[in-house]
Point group: C2
Chain length 151, copies 2
Amino acid sequence: MRVSAKADYAVRAAAELAAAEEGPVKGERLADAQDIPLQFLEHILLELKHAGIVRARRGAKGGYWLAKPADEITIADVVRAVEGPIAHVQSSPPESIEYRGHAEHLQEVWIAVRANLRAVLEHVTLADLVSDHLPAIVENLVSQPDAWAAR
Amino acid sequence: MRVSAKADYAVRAAAELAAAEEGPVKGERLADAQDIPLQFLEHILLELKHAGIVRARRGAKGGYWLAKPADEITIADVVRAVEGPIAHVQSSPPESIEYRGHAEHLQEVWIAVRANLRAVLEHVTLADLVSDHLPAIVENLVSQPDAWAAR
DNA sequence: GCGCACCTGACTAAGAAGGTCAGGAAAGTC
DNA sequence: GACTTTCCTGACCTTCTTAGTCAGGTGCGC
């Protein structure tokens, strides 16, 4: 139930790209801006490219840019590109697991968990992230003081 | 963003205990009922015991039982007992991470993710799980057909 | 005191996480 | 066309986690 460094890095780099005005941004600049090891970031950007989220050009004046408008890319897209499906149980998607005995309804619980994860991740776009206004669903969740308490 | 085998096993074993009428249940019976390797399960039960979720007695007529009524133990309690804090980012709690540059609002997104995870896991008790009636929040999420779609 | 069932630490094999290294290949510049 | 720049790619590495197994120890009840 944790977010890997890789996924965190990927979203942060994508946010920098979303905020960049025009023109390709060098990997090095992204690495500097977000304090990410350059060579590791390059691997991540390659995965984002294969997933069709960013595009790139080599050589002088080269760099990376978003393949689509920032308001058409969600955080879920970015996370899935580097981590694979969100919310697997024992490496299988929850809808394909069969529970026995008194654990029968556990499947529905995991399905609900996944749905609630998606409710956030699929509704925040990169454009939202770099603006000063996150979607209402996030604002609501964040405004509960309870949400900030460790546990 | 995945649920480990251990956490899944722990919840399933706890569900069996919640459903058991009176008296200690042997580890072997739990292992059989939920198809969990016995020796692995014993380690898990030990952790649940240390967390104060189950109690145990050795010897003939020994076994495990819940330390509290089933409606006072949530799935979150069980998962945390074996996996530690739910929803960490890069091994740190989201409220303690500082983001720079254009990723500034990412913290709020992770906080919202965690809040939504908790909204499910902290509201489903073991009693709910073994009954035929999950809490309304879960029923609502599960009833959206979208929730069952792979992605 | 004997068997039953939990308790506990040590161990292990495989995989993932989080990188680093070394070189290749395209794009632009002089 | 040589040279620089920047992305592209595979190989490698170290540490940690996962998902167990093994071997015994310890307390409880009869």
